[in-house]
């Protein structure tokens, strides 16, 4: 594999837009949260973020609480297939077998798994397993059950081991889901701990990305990204008529 092919894959990824909007990326020691209602596409986004890291040859740990391991593997295979379909992105499939070795899936059953136990296992994987992850994807943590304390544990962990951690948060509740600043009501108590907060909202036929918090700034902003409904990839949102 020639490096320029990979360069192309990295350069052309829509995730560069995301990075630009959040001051160059999530950054080590930081916590990013993708929030939406159930079934909007958080897992797809997380897997795309992970896939982008893998293409950059950066090891990723994917923590999941609910899915079966083979389902998660299928997610990755599908996302790579979709990435490869885009023009000049075919190389994604060629390098798949090689780069997927940089991904470890850790599955925990929510009932039995406390956050400190999850983090212990994660640390064991990184230290004893000699797996130099830079990014940890955490999908399916129940924010209703897990409180602010759990998020702080993740934050402390990210800081100590120099990782960036992306989590998904499933929003639910009877009242309105967002306050007038666009902050998910459920996550308000955790807002200080979260470094980057992005909400996914249905808008007509599309799912749009709203940046709610960018590190120190609470500045609601449309990210000009959407989730493509057929490929389930994060894509540039080109306004109609443009």
């Amino acid at each position: 594999m020639t490096p320029d092919v990979t360069d192309e894959l990295i350069k052309r990824s829509p995730l560069r837009i995301l990075e630009k909007s959040i001051s160059g990326g999530l950054g080590k020691g930081n916590i990013g949260v993708l929030a939406s209602q159930k079934g909007v596409g958080k897992t797809a986004c997380l897997v795309h973020i992970a896939a982008d890291k893998l293409i950059q040859r950066k090891p990723v740990i994917h923590v999941s609480y609910a899915s079966r391991v083979d389902h998660i593997m299928t997610w990755y295979a599908d996302i790579f297939k979709e990435i490869a379909k885009a023009p000049r992105m075919g190389a994604a499939l060629e390098i798949y077998d090689e780069i997927i070795k940089n991904r470890v899936i850790m599955n925990f059953k929510q009932d039995g798994a406390k956050t400190d136990q999850v983090l212990r296992s994660l640390e064991a994987m990184i230290v004893h397993g000699n797996f130099a992850a830079e990014t940890v994807i955490v999908d399916g943590l129940d924010f209703c059950r897990a409180g602010l304390d759990d998020l702080r544990l993740f934050k402390e962990f990210a800081g100590r081991l120099g990782l960036e951690v992306w989590l998904s948060a499933s929003l639910r509740g009877d009242g309105p889901l967002f306050d007038d600043r666009g902050v998910p009501v459920m996550l308000e108590p955790c807002l200080d701990t979260i470094d980057v907060l992005i909400s996914l909202v249905h808008h007509g036929n599309h799912v749009h990305f709203n940046l709610v918090k960018d590190h120190d700034r609470l500045a609601p902003k449309n990210l000009r990204l959407k989730l493509d409904p057929t490929t389930l990839l994060i894509a540039k949102d080109i306004p109609r008529g443009a």
């Binding site: 079966r68 391991v69 470890v104 599955n107 064991a124 994987m125 397993g129 000699n130 797996f131």
Partner: protein, 696 residues
């Protein structure tokens, strides 16, 4: 003995290691009155379970070779094969599955679906074997039959339905509720031999009613009659059983039974289930390959008067000579019958015909299709088919994987040499995954197999059964060589040494072949290479592929395309083109980015989650790639891909690291490229060996 085919059952007992298969089999033998006393695996009485007939198995507490045995229950004749649990011996499991009509899948109700349960399930699927599930060890702490049923449904994708409900669990496990008869069963007497039927305890009535409804919901799918009866509120036991049987035989339903073999609970109802729900031999379709007409398969009939077709599926050296286990698929066998071995064409006469119990046997006069019996003193290999004279069929060849590991063995003295040869000859006949050959260069005897433990067991058996001490070398991984890119060749072989010369010119290229193996394509046009000599080129290439130039292992995954060439009317010959092909390949091979491949194993480690960190460490130290880890409360499972060469001695490492609480299974996954630093080391070793060889 009944010879009515509808009264016959051929079942296997398959499971993950340590799920209690052997204990279960022991109980079945006891309740069927085949043995008069129960012995435990690793029993304190020093006798060991009856099915583990080899000393070695007794000592290690595992079952290696499947012994077959016949029992009678409720007027039915049941042939049972106790299959080995360790993955190194899956050839035994696969062979058993080939000859059986159905199976009991034993699961531990604490451990649930484990890595090897998945392997065994895949095998059952491959051979389309219907089965019922038995959740064992309900008396153990942490037993949860509901969770395990869910796992069978989720992880294995089966329509698993609980047919019974426990009364109490763990230490309080007292009895079983039969959801078909809606009765409570208690197992009394000194060894659970008395089944007391009682009313369902009041505190379990509501749950039992609910579970029965769920069971009926699943089962009515298979019978309209039952569906109507359920709607009318009057389903009979017979209707339910008939529907369960139909679903089970179609592999669309897995009825789940529960119990504790060790505590003597739940075995008799399980035997009833074997009789009620598992198929008799006539309900299973068997096919044979017609050796006279290529590609044609024949469906065998379960008519005892049809010509005989039988498969020799296992050989055993017993105290009374060679024993050949056969399954009769069509026709019947009577003492004095003449049969033909369709592989060798050899005729045999049926001498002694016996029905086997684990260590003892009973002489019989006749056996009919569907039955599993043994013959004495028949020379054959396992996998051979015997037919009545005039019939030329072969049972489908049993899938035999290639060995991944080898070991040099040498007898310690001359006396041992003969015995070693005898032992090896025997083992290779018994077990097709165990192979042996003499390395033409070193003169060493090499044995090959499916894993370290696999070869260990045979070394032990040599010592015990043949009193042969051998010196074993370091285990050697079966490496492969391959090419990484296309390279062109243009080679002329010319020799003129008086008399007839040699001349051959070949032009073409070699390229990687993703599916592995070897392909030869000739695109030579206009007779530039005479047609007769094209196969000579093929032969030449083939011969050179047997030993790669990097480390002397076979080269795989190569397509050779011949595009042009030249010949001489007098000097060209078969041998000239063979030589040209060999030399051309040697010349072009280094240009095609040759690389070394090694077997990568799929390794699954299971144990308490507190050891997960240590397990991660052991995998990473072994150049392994961790694919996933699953933690479910206190239980963890790590799946990884690890090169076989790094797995030597792993069982000891794991045992001492986890105080024996974790276990692992491994099986061959694929060939993967060896990293550069390892490849260099291997090349150096190869060159060193060659230098030494050259000095000899």
């Amino acid at each position: 003995m009944s010879t009515d085919i509808a009264r016959m059952r051929n079942i296997g007992i398959s499971a993950h290691i340590d799920s209690g298969k052997t204990t279960l089999t022991e109980r079945i033998l006891f309740y069927c009155k085949k043995i008069h006393k129960i012995h435990e695996v690793k029993g304190k009485d020093g006798v060991g379970a009856t099915m583990d007939s080899m000393d070695l198995e007794r000592e290690r507490g595992i079952t290696i070779a499947s012994a077959t045995t016949n029992v009678e229950w409720a007027g039915r004749s049941i042939n049972i094969i106790d299959t080995p649990g360790h993955v190194d011996f899956t050839i035994e499991v696969e062979r058993s599955l080939r000859v059986l009509d159905s199976a009991i899948l034993v699961l531990c109700s604490v451990g649930g679906v484990q890595s090897q349960t998945i392997t065994v399930d895949r095998q059952l699927r491959r051979y389309n074997v219907p089965f019922i599930a038995f959740l064992n060890k309900l008396d153990r702490t942490g037993a949860n039959p509901f969770k395990v049923r869910e796992q069978i449904a989720e992880k294995l994708g089966h329509n698993a339905v609980l047919m019974q409900l426990p009364i109490g669990l763990e230490a309080g496990f007292a009895g079983i509720i039969d959801l078909v008869a809606m009765k409570a069963l208690y197992f009394e007497g000194e060894e659970g031999e008395v089944v007391r039927i009682a009313e369902i305890p009041a505190d379990h009535a509501a749950e039992a009613a609910g579970r029965r409804e769920a069971m009926l919901d699943a089962v009515t799918m298979f019978s309209d009659e039952l569906m109507e009866a359920v709607l009318a509120g009057r389903p009979t036991e017979e209707m339910i059983r008939a529907a369960v049987r139909k679903g089970t035989i179609a592999r669309k339903l897995v009825p789940v039974f529960i119990g504790s073999a060790y505590r003597n609970k739940g075995i008799q109802p399980l035997l009833d289930a074997v009789v009620s729900y598992l198929p008799d031999p006539s309900e299973v379709e068997n096919r044979a390959i017609d050796l006279d007409r290529e590609g044609v398969e024949r469906v065998l009939s379960s008519d005892p008067s049809a010509p005989t077709v039988a498969l020799a599926f296992k050989l055993e050296e017993g105290p009374y000579g060679q024993l050949t286990y056969i399954r009769i698929y069509q026709g019947s066998l009577t003492k004095g019958d003449e049969l033909v071995n369709t592989r060798s064409g050899q005729k045999i006469k049926v001498g002694r015909l016996v029905r086997m119990h684990a260590d003892t046997m009973a002489d019989i006069q006749e056996a009919v299709c569907g039955d599993i019996v043994a013959l004495f003193g028949v020379e054959c290999a396992s996998g051979d088919t015997f037919c009545s004279p005039g019939v030329n069929l072969a049972m489908t060849p049993i899938h035999v994987p290639d060995p991944v590991i080898s070991l040099a063995v040498a007898p310690v003295d001359n006396g041992a040499s003969d015995r070693m040869a005898k032992a090896l000859n025997r083992f290779t006949k018994e077990d097709p995954t165990f192979r042996t050959y003499v390395d033409p260069e070193s003169g060493e005897t090499i044995i090959q197999g499916m894993g370290e433990l696999h070869l260990d067991i045979y070394l032990e058996r040599m010592k015990r059964e043949y009193r042969t001490a051998v010196q074993a070398g370091m285990p050697q991984v079966a490496y492969r060589e391959a090419i990484g890119q296309r390279a062109d060749f243009d080679y002329t072989h010319k020799k003129q040494t008086g008399g007839a010369g040699q001349y051959a010119k070949i032009v073409g290229y070699i390229e990687p072949l993703a599916k592995g193996g070897y392909e030869f394509v000739s695109e030579v046009k206009g007779g530039r290479i005479p047609r007769d000599f094209i196969p000579s080129c093929d032969k030449g290439f083939r011969s050179v592929l047997r030993k790669g130039q990097l480390i002397g292992f076979p080269i795989t995954g190569v397509r050779v395309v011949l595009t042009d060439g030249n010949s001489h009317p007098v000097d060209s010959s078969d041998i000239a083109f063979q030589t040209a092909a060999q030399a051309a390949f040697r010349e072009v091979y280094p240009k095609a980015k040759p690389q070394i491949l090694e077997p990568i194993m799929k390794v699954s480690v299971e144990g308490p989650s507190e050891y997960a960190g240590s397990v991660f460490g052991t995998i990473s130290q072994r150049r392994g790639v961790i694919v996933s880890s699953v933690e479910d409360g206190t239980f963890a499972r790590v799946d990884a891909e690890v090169p076989l060469s790094e797995m030597f001695g792993y069982s000891n490492v794991l045992r001492s690291l986890t105080q024996g609480k974790a276990e692992f299974t491994m099986e061959f996954l694929k060939y993967g490229r060896v990293p550069a630093h390892v490849a260099e080391l291997l090349s150096e070793q190869f060159l060193e060996k060659q230098r030494k060889g050259g000095r000899k």
